[in-house]
């Protein structure tokens, strides 16, 4: 049984921005969309390990800062024709705070 862990307040993440959570499973990037939805991905691009948290967020994707791969935020899958997947973490918004579930 895994539990939800409080990460930060929503307003501590810029819209279309991200923050990095240090965890026992490595760094996890938490992204905030324009409409305040939040997503969590392992902070490592499947291509060459670039920190996705540092990329530009647009639509429901982030562009890796190292070589420009586009990664879908909902599932961590690279946008075709690129291939690869970053591990996805459950993240939710509750009462103005962002919660993360470690699996």
């Amino acid at each position: 049984m895994s539990d939800w862990i409080k990460v930060c307040r929503l307003d501590e993440i810029a819209p279309l921005g991200s923050r990095v959570v240090a965890s026992s499973q490595g760094d996890i990037a938490i992204f905030r969309m324009a409409d305040d939805r939040v997503f969590g991905l392992h902070d490592k691009c499947p291509h060459k390990g670039g920190p996705l948290s540092q990329g530009i967020v647009h639509g429901d994707t982030v562009t890796c800062p190292l070589h420009g791969l586009k990664i879908g935020l909902k599932d961590g899958e690279a946008v075709a024709p690129d291939k690869g997947c970053a591990k996805s973490f459950a993240v939710k918004l509750d009462a103005g705070s962002v919660w993360l579930k470690m699996s």
Partner: protein, 826 residues
């Protein structure tokens, strides 16, 4: 609501491309049915020649497998020829009785080969060269018969002849005209082509008119007789004497046809419910037989079918590339020039018969209007671009013939001719992509554009220095299907149809101040852009409206958001500022202390002659900057689309040759330009004498001291493409150096497109334009300079902001969580 019905007659490249474009724009608008007379799904007709030559198989050239139709909910009727359109009842009827109703109809019936009206043209063994069936028959015949005759020495005829020769046949090409490919080549180029094909064993009979095909004892064709009585053996006759738009169906439905189904600029026929694209169409009196224009038509047609109603097709400039392995030939535009009967053209010609190279450029009123290249087609794509863009080539004229020098600089071992490369040769040095990988992707994925190739192979997608090579490979693989995009009106990215130029202009004219305002006003297709357009928009806004538009950190690449340079492992590098490259023992001590305190793994000198501290964790950045700040130092912009460094030599301060105080001048310039954002990085150098130890000749602005003052050079580049800076003017004083340099940079800041270096900017607008504003017009120069100073006036040291403002500092802070206890919600 019930979907509208779209019926497409013609399952070829034009019709299906239109459907693909439509599905991109409006995937759910129509219920779609497609009729194809051939029993195959859509295939790449252009690649029939490689199939004939034995280089590929039919399966390799299928563009849309049957599954594609199913996945998109398209009803496909293959092997069914539509014989009737009932415009009143709005339905089409196929020969086998199949019917489909339509709300809108798209005709893409293509063309039919022209069969010479001579006796014997219906004998077995007499075929055209149009589809898979013809190709199969040619391959089969080559295995059993000896003599082939190809009638028609055009593009298609020569490809057929070459393929049959490779299949072991004895091939003669018969041509009515005095030289081969007269619609694409002038005589000198055609003669070289003929010589080269003869060396491969092909035979040619030019200026011969065929009178009859003669039947042999077996019943199939056996010989061919000319008007002059000559007879040659022929077991196979391939008619490649041209194509005719296939208008029979349209004519039977009483649609207006005149050498093609007549359409307007929206690809609509005289019946507004019926559209037409492809080889069957006559647009402004022209029927196109190459695939590039068909794709442009398909795109426009899809736009209207999707009810967008904003696209227009205004005709195409076509280019030709012969797909015969090992022969490099290219032509585009009005390549005949004055000989073609049009006055006022000049020809620039280079002809080296022994060397096998011929190049002719046709110039009219300072624009390039056509080109023929034989033997060295490296610059074909560039010339084609110049023709399409109608660019003024006045400044290029004296070296236009020698090409763009675009390829072969760095990253691919100096090779500039794709044809000479082996499949294993590395084309893209950034991403390690070989020629064979690119060719394979183009063929197997059905790629037609540079963008496609970049997406699928990554070649040319990083530094771009191999773009010219990739274009050549693309052109030689897909032949006439290749069309470089218009650079002039090229959309910024997939989020918009507007070009950089139009967006810049609109932001200025409409006084737009935020990214969302721009996206809303200019009807962006995506909700918040992409990683390519947002940084550009952000730059355009703050450079156009300094003090009014607000910077958006989330629309900046990480380096400019974090104010340090990201490295491959996600750490950052910090380059402490050394104005003009000068430092002191005290500053060096501070840097050394920081390097030890934060366990910096690597310390090195940068290309701009500054000290680089590499491998700093993002979390530590604000602390590093605080330590620098405490010692009175600032960090440096060693990463941004901004002023980088001003490199200097020792100059008159110490050097026995120095004529001007270059260190002092460099410091003044670097301080003046502190924090200046730009479309791309900006590097300066100041040398104290013409020995030029600061390498000012390859900088965006190079200042060279001479006894009587300074020479100013602009638009140099030492990177991907080495460009020597061009002399702009000579000035007398330090103040003038600052004013002229500042004015030049402000002009670039106001007019440059995002990610355009000064060398590209000046190549686009011309040095004369720059001089007119910066040198010749003192009032303009002063205005530009004042606008630059105004924009820089309120620049805040971003590193101290990160140190002092908690909201900004958050960017650097890691969130640490307790995974077991603490605040847990179940």
């Amino acid at each position: 609501m019930k979907k509208q019905k779209l019926v497409v007659v013609g399952n070829g490249m034009a019709g299906i491309r239109a459907v693909e474009e439509l599905l991109k724009l409006a995937p759910d608008l129509y219920d779609i049915a497609v009729f194809g007379a051939e029993p195959h799904p859509n295939y790449n007709r252009i690649l029939l020649s490689p199939v004939l030559a034995g280089e590929m198989t039919i399966n390799d050239i299928i563009l849309n497998p049957l599954g594609w139709y199913a996945d998109n909910g398209i009803r496909l009727h293959v092997g069914k020829q539509v014989t009737k359109i009932d415009r009143t009842a709005r339905k089409v009827i196929a020969a086998d009785g199949t019917e489909e109703d339509y709300d809108r109809l798209l005709l893409a019936t293509g063309s039919t080969p022209f069969m010479l009206p001579i006796p014997g043209n219906d004998l077995p063994g007499v075929i055209s060269y149009r589809d898979i069936k013809d190709t199969d028959e040619m391959i089969a015949t080559a295995a059993t018969h000896k003599h082939a005759v190809v009638i028609g020495g055009g593009l298609l005829g020569l490809e057929a002849a070459n393929g049959l020769k490779l299949r072991g046949m004895d091939v003669t090409v018969v041509h009515l005209m005095p030289w081969l490919m007269e619609r694409q080549l002038d005589k000198p180029a055609a003669d070289m082509l003929k010589t080269s094909l003869e060396a491969r064993g092909l035979k040619f009979l030019l200026e011969r008119q065929t009178e009859a095909l003669i039947r042999g004892e077996s019943g199939r064709v056996a010989a061919l007789r000319f008007k002059d009585g000559l007879e040659i053996p022929a077991d196979l006759v391939v008619m490649a004497a041209g194509i005719r738009p296939n208008t029979a169906l349209a004519e039977s439905a009483r649609l207006y046809c005149n050498r093609g189904i007549v359409v307007n600029d929206t690809m609509q026929t005289y019946d507004p419910r019926i559209y037409a694209v492809g080889e069957c169409v006559a647009h402004r009196g022209v029927a196109y037989g190459l695939v590039a224009p068909l794709f442009e038509q398909a795109k426009v047609c899809a736009n209207h079918l999707a009810n967008f109603g904003i696209a227009r097709y205004t005709g195409s400039v076509t280019s030709t590339k012969l797909k015969v392995t090992g022969i490099d030939l290219f032509s585009c535009g009005d390549f005949m020039g004055a000989q073609g009967g049009k006055g006022g053209t000049d020809e620039i010609v280079l002809h080296d018969p022994s060397g096998g190279v011929y190049k002719k450029l046709v110039v009219k009123d300072d624009t390039l209007v056509g080109a023929v290249l034989y033997g060295d087609t490296a610059d074909g794509a560039w010339y084609f671009q110049l023709v399409k863009d109608g660019k003024n080539i006045h400044e290029l004229r004296d070296h236009l013939m020698f090409g763009q020098n675009h390829v072969g600089d760095v990253g691919h071992a100096g090779v500039s001719k794709a044809a000479a490369m082996s499949d294993e040769a590395e084309v893209c040095g950034c991403n390690g992509v070989c020629k064979g990988d690119i060719v394979k992707a183009i063929k197997s994925q059905g790629l037609f554009t540079l963008e496609d190739v970049r997406k699928h192979t990554k070649a040319s997608s990083s530094c771009g220095s191999c773009t010219g090579l990739v274009e050549q490979i693309l052109a030689s693989t897909v032949g006439g299907a290749y069309t470089p995009a218009d650079t002039k009106d090229k959309p910024m990215c997939g989020c918009t149809d507007h070009s950089h130029g139009v967006v810049r202009q609109t932001i200025r004219e409409r006084h737009l101040l935020t990214i969302s305002e721009v996206m809303h006003y200019m009807e962006w297709k995506t909700s918040n852009g992409c990683a390519s357009c947002r940084p550009a928009l952000n730059y355009y806004l703050i450079s156009t409206w300094p003090g009014e538009a607000k910077d958006d950190p989330q629309s900046r690449f990480v380096n400019e958001r974090a104010h340090a340079n990201i490295q491959k492992d996600g750490s950052f590098s910090v380059v402490p500022r050394m104005w003009g490259g000068l430092t002191t023992p005290a500053e060096l001590r501070v840097i050394a202390d920081i390097a030890e305190k934060y366990e910096v793994p690597t310390v090195k000198m940068t290309g701009g002659a500054r000290i680089d501290l590499l491998g700093i964790k993002k979390e530590d950045l604000p602390r590093v900057w605080a330590d620098l700040g405490a010692a009175g130092m600032v960090s440096g912009h060693a990463y941004g689309k901004s002023i980088r460094t001003v490199k200097t030599c020792v100059g008159a301060e110490h050097c026995r040759f120095g004529t001007q105080r270059s260190m002092d001048m460099g410091v003044k310039l670097e301080r003046m330009l502190f924090g200046m954002g730009a479309p791309h990085k900006v590097k300066l150098a100041v040398s104290g004498c013409p020995r030029n130890c600061a390498e000012a000749g390859i900088k965006d602005i190079g200042v060279i001291g001479v006894d009587s003052g300074y020479e100013l050079y602009v638009a140099g580049n030492g990177g991907i493409k080495t460009e020597v800076a061009q002399f702009m003017c000579k000035v007398k004083s330090d103040e003038e150096v600052m004013e002229y340099s500042g004015a030049f940079l402000q002009l670039y800041r106001e007019e440059g497109f995002y990610l355009e270096r000064t060398c590209h900017y000046v190549a686009r607008v011309g040095l004369d334009h720059v001089k007119a504003a910066v040198v010749d017009d003192p009032a303009k120069r002063k205005d530009l300079f004042e606008r630059l100073l105004l924009a820089l006036k309120d620049y805040q040291d971003p590193w101290q902001e990160a140190v002092q403002k908690p909201v900004v500092r958050r960017e650097y802070e890691l969130i640490r969580i307790k995974e077991i206890a603490a605040e847990v919600q179940s």
